[in-house]
Amino acid sequence: MPISSEAGQMPLISVTDLDVRFGSDDEIVHAVRGVSFDVAEGETFGLVGESGSGKSTVLRAMSGLNADWTGSIEIGGTLLGRVRGKPFYKRVQMVFQDPYGSLHPRHTVDRILSEPCQIHRMSDIDDRVSDVLVAVGLGPTFRFRYPHQLSGGQRQRVAIARALILEPEILLLDEPTSALDVSVQAEILNLLQRLKQERGLTFVLVSHDLAVIAHMCDRLAVMNAGRIVEELTVAQLRASEPAEAYTRQLLKASLGYDRSAAAGMESFD
C-alpha cells in the first residue's frame, strides 16, 4: 500500500516550495509557485491541471532540464543540486510530452537507444536494445528506422524504450499516452504497471485524462496557475468528492463534450 509521509516512512521524492520563473526583470512569468509534494517509493503520483498550469515545468525542474528554480528537491533523502551528473540520470529518467521533438530526427531507433547505454558504459548493448524494443511492443523491423518513418504512437514507444533502457528507479512521465490511440495507450499503461511491479519503479505521471490518472495513480495533485490547489487520493476522485470547485469542473468536463457545459466553464485564478 502506498503511504505518504504520515506513516513516518521517508518519502523517495520530496519537493518543497518549488518556484520557477521565466524571463527577465520586466516580464517575469511565475510558472510554478510554492509547489510541495512527497512521493513514496513504489507509488504513482499524478499531476493534473489546466494547460499552462506548470505541470511540465515541475517535471523539468525535477529532471534537471531546467536549472533555474528555487526550493528543494530531495531524492532518497539527498538534496539535488542544479546540475545533475550521470548517476542521477541512471536513477531518474523522463518521458516527454512531445514524441516529435524528443527524438533526434537523423538518428535511427538503434542509435537513439544505444547512445544512453554507451554514455553509461553498459555492457551487452545489442541485447539490451532488442529486449527493450520487445518490452515496448516494437519488433526488430523498427530497429533501423528513423523517427519520421514511425507513427506518433510508435515514436512514443521509442521514447519510453529510451527511458527504460537505463533501468531507472524513477520515471517522470509527461503525458506519456496523450499522443497515442486507446489500444496502444492500454498497452503502454499495462506495460508501465508491469514494469513498475517487476522493477519496483516509482512514477510521477502528468496527464489531463482523469480516467488515466485514476487507473494508474495512488494519489494526485491538481494544479492551477502554478499552484497545487488540492491533493487527493484516487478513491476520493472516483467517488467524485473533490473539495475544490476547480477539480469539480475538471471532473464534469471529463465526461465528454457538451455544448451547454462548455458555456458554463469558468476560469479560476
Binding site: S51, Y100, G101, A179, S183, E187, L189, N190, A211, Y257
Partner: protein, 294 residues
C-alpha cells in the same frame, strides 16, 4: 439524416478509392488502402489505432504527402474542384484559403525563429490585407478566443517557450483565420486539459453549426468523438472497417471498434490490466461494417 455518402446538402469533400503508399528500402508500406468517404457540413470523426493511416488520410486531401510517399485515387473532389488535377499553385490557394489543417505536431508547424505574435499577424495580414498594426491587435483577440490567458505576453514568446496545449490552441487560432470551408484537425486538442478542450471545441462546433464549415476530426479519444462528432469513421491498417453515427459509437459492431472501446480506462471501473486488442488478419480483407447501408 446525413448518410455515409455525404451531407444533406451534398458533400463538400468526396474521396473514392484513395491509397497512400511509401516506397522504402525494405519494401512498400501501404499506409492507406482504397478508402472512400465524404464529408458534408458536419463533424466527421476519424479514429483508429496508431499507424492506421488517419494522418495520411488527412494530409492526402491537401496533397501534403512528401516523396517517397505516393497518392492514388479514383476521385478526390472538394466543392467542385478536382484535387487530383489542380496545379501546385491552385493547391496552395486551396490550402491557404478554403481548407485548413491543424497538424498533429503543432510546434513543428510554427516557425521557430519568429514570435507567436509575428506569425499570427503575418498570417492575418496575408489573408485580409490588413495593416500590420491592425493585424497585431487582432492577433491578441484571436488568442483570447481560444482561451489563452494573458494573450499579450504569449504574442511575444517563441514557439519553444509555449506549453504543448498553448501550441495547439495557437495553431487552431491560426487555422481559423481564413474562415475555411473545411477544417482537417489532426489530434487538435490532445494536449489540452479537458476544460479548455471543451471550450476550444465549442468554437469549432459553432463554426460547423452556424457557418456550415465541414470538419474532419482525427482523434484517438473515443469518448470525445462520440460526444462531439456527428459521424465516425473507424480505420484499421489503412482501411475503413466501420462507419457509424457518433451517438451510436458505444453500440459499434466491428470487433476492432469494440476492442478499442474496451481498452479505455474508466473512472467507474477499478484498475487492473486493461484489455488489449487481439488483432485479426481477416479484418484486412473482410468488408467493413457500414451502419448506413443497414
Amino acid at each position: 439524416m446525413i448518410g455515409a455518402n455525404g451531407g444533406k446538402d451534398g458533400a463538400l469533400l468526396t474521396v473514392e478509392d484513395l491509397s497512400v503508399r511509401f516506397h522504402t528500402r525494405t519494401g512498400i508500406v501501404d499506409a492507406v488502402r482504397n478508402i472512400s468517404f465524404s464529408v458534408g457540413r458536419e463533424k466527421v470523426g476519424i479514429v483508429g489505432e496508431s499507424g492506421s493511416g488517419k494522418t495520411m488520410t488527412g494530409r492526402s486531401v491537401l496533397r501534403l504527402i512528401r516523396p517517397p510517399g505516393e497518392i492514388t485515387a479514383k476521385r478526390m473532389e472538394f466543392d467542385g474542384h478536382d484535387l487530383l488535377t489542380l496545379s501546385e499553385k491552385q493547391m496552395r490557394d486551396i490550402r491557404g484559403d478554403r481548407i485548413s489543417m491543424v497538424m498533429q505536431d503543432p510546434k513543428y508547424s510554427l516557425n521557430p525563429v519568429m514570435t507567436i505574435g509575428e506569425q499570427i499577424a503575418e498570417a492575418y495580414r496575408v489573408h485580409t490585407g490588413a495593416s500590420f498594426r491592425d493585424a497585431k491587435a487582432r492577433a491578441a483577440e484571436m488568442l483570447a478566443a481560444v482561451k489563452i490567458r494573458d494573450p499579450e505576453r504569449v504574442l511575444s514568446l517563441y514557439p519553444h517557450e509555449v506549453s504543448g496545449g498553448m501550441g495547439q490552441r495557437i495553431m487552431i487560432a491560426m487555422m481559423l483565420i481564413p474562415d475555411p470551408d473545411l477544417m482537417i484537425a489532426d489530434e487538435p486538442t490532445s494536449a489540452l486539459d479537458v476544460t479548455v478542450q471543451m471550450q476550444v471545441l465549442a468554437i469549432i462546433d459553432d463554426l460547423v453549426t452556424q457557418r456550415g464549415m465541414g470538419l474532419m476530426f482525427v482523434s484517438h479519444d473515443l469518448n470525445l468523438v462520440a460526444s462531439f462528432c456527428d459521424r465516425v469513421i473507424i480505420m484499421y491498417a489503412g482501411q475503413i472497417v466501420e462507419t457509424c453515427k457518433a451517438s451510436e459509437l458505444d453500440q459499434a459492431k466491428h470487433p476492432y471498434t469494440r476492442g478499442l472501446l474496451n481498452s479505455l480506462p474508466r473512472l467507474d471501473r477499478e484498475p487492473g490490466p486493461l484489455p488489449v486488442l487481439e488483432r485479426q488478419e481477416s479484418w484486412k480483407t473482410e468488408p467493413g461494417v457500414d451502419a448506413y447501408f443497414k
